[in-house]
């Protein structure tokens, strides 16, 4: 079923059908009605491939997510998908996979589809290999990075002030009387590095001795060891909420009370924070705002031909029952 078929039935030309289809002005109201009726009755559906070919626009954007398992990233992707779909752009959501240097393959896929814009979700994309790949494969497509920056003319960024948020969290604990606050970090992502930096800076400012733990495995083991080695600890900040879940379990098992004996803070203010018992206080990294800004920025770049911008969004503290 093509517009020619519709044209035949409606007794007009394909051009006219196309005009009706696209709500172009300058068409006799009666003709328009007649064509519309045929369109409806036949259940006609435009072939977007053909349309994309002539319009040189796919009406699609690409969303590259660094890791599927990360609910935070998935949620960001969906927020962006929603925004664009309400504006007639469909989303191609693709999982880049763990290996950032393998980004060329998904990027080529997206390029072939001629996506009108691209958003990269996850700070791991702030990487030299990604920069080269972007430059080589999509030098002319507007790109926005969620929580990462790259110095490329077509690549904007919306950053979350992880450093400031973590500083604020540390200071908050200090203000509420804590004097021995540790930080437990997992992945060495650019985002996490900023968090750690904020923690260290706050410690210095406050005259607290920093206790930094790097764990690639289990938060429980890390917390247990930390607590064994530092009996005087009265606060722990985790680089992500789910780590704090394990931490709470260990603390509970050791017979310490939260927050009386020890305060616990997570990061991201994920849905999990509200589900834990006690409810986890967390650094809100503003996922929704971040995603929304990404969408707005990308839209702006797609329309105005791409002026690079870098925005930063402040974090806040979501205080609940753990500190």
């Amino acid at each position: 079923m093509t517009i020619y078929d519709i044209a035949k039935v409606a007794g007009v030309s394909a051009s006219t059908v196309s005009r009706v289809l696209n709500d172009k002005p300058g068409i006799n109201a009666r003709t328009r009605e007649r064509v519309k009726r045929v369109l409806d009755e036949t259940g006609f559906s435009v072939n977007e491939s053909a349309r994309g070919l002539v319009e040189q626009s796919s009406r699609m954007i690409g969303i590259l997510v660094s890791d599927i398992r990360n609910q935070h990233h998935i949620s960001g992707a969906y927020l962006i998908e929603e925004y664009f779909r309400s504006r007639g752009q469909v989303s191609l959501i693709i999982n880049a996979g763990g290996d950032v240097s393998a980004i060329a393959s998904p990027l080529r896929t997206l390029a072939s589809r001629r996506v009108n814009g691209l958003v990269l979700i996850g700070s791991v994309f702030q990487d030299e290999a990604v920069s080269s790949a972007l430059q080589a494969i999509v030098p002319d497509i507007p790109v926005v990075m969620q929580n990462g920056v790259l110095d490329l003319p077509n690549v904007s960024a919306v950053l979350c002030d992880d450093r400031g948020g973590t500083m604020e969290a540390t200071m908050h604990l200090h203000q509420s009387g804590r004097r021995h606050v540790a930080y437990i970090n997992n992945n060495l992502t650019p985002s996490n590095n900023k968090k750690v930096g904020g923690y260290l800076e706050a410690c210095q400012e406050l005259g607290m001795e920093p206790v930094l733990v790097q764990t690639c495995s289990d938060a429980e083991d890390a917390t247990a060891q930390l607590l064994d080695a530092n009996p005087g600890l009265d606060g722990i900040i985790y680089s992500v909420d789910f780590l704090a879940a394990g931490g709470l379990r260990v603390i509970h098992k050791m017979g310490l009370r939260v927050p009386d004996d020890i305060a616990v803070l997570g990061t991201d203010d994920s849905p999990l924070a509200r589900l834990l018992d006690p409810r986890l206080s967390s650094i809100d990294t503003k996922l929704e705002q971040l995603s929304h800004e990404c969408a707005l920025l990308l839209e702006e770049m797609m329309e105005n031909g791409g002026v690079r911008k870098v925005k930063t969004i402040a974090c806040s503290l979501a205080l609940r029952e753990t500190g």
Copy 2:
């Protein structure tokens, strides 16, 4: 940059470039090499719109998710995306939104894109309105439903045996000595209805008095009221894990011990189950297997022209610390 440009540089015709691009046989090895080099050097990227137009295939599949907030569904979508991408099919993941009767709009979007196949994730799609919409808009596209069935010739289904899983869970509690087991349900989805059915049937078989609670709001309130009204309760099953999180909190607050005083079971065996304290025992609804089967089935339908099939996958119990 089109294949004509490549052809000119390589000193061949566009047909030859196309053949090289698609790894067609019957091309002089030298010519192939030469073209490949030019392809590489120029960073050529096929226009998939043009290709899709002539091939009458978009190399895309559509994935319709009923609700973004449901991590279970999102995870399913990603598992399917992964499967198809590794086979050269890109995924259009779309959030259908809460209102099932509004499914026509996303369906039309997907139809316009000429997706080669479609998967619907979420049992809420098992609905008369969805059935009509599918029939009207995509009568000829292979469709697979994840955990829902519809009686349409082009619509296959992979179901999870929610009923059996919940029966088994109820029986497990009974076997471990529980005699007063309640069930807390949230949404009235087809899937949840099966769960409730399984619970009721098990109660009958076991001679237990069923205590069924329907809550559309908070699991904590529901649990508190339930416990107040039924002091003898020694087990609760929740229709989804996150409800159990709230339940555990209330139980804890009331001074009851889990599982000694009361056993708690969730459903879906989500990542959350392992993060709660105590670790939540849960009915494993086999998300990964379900998604994988959906992908296989859809692939089969797309290749062999669509014989409808309905598969059911058994649940199992993931026993941890709560019962």
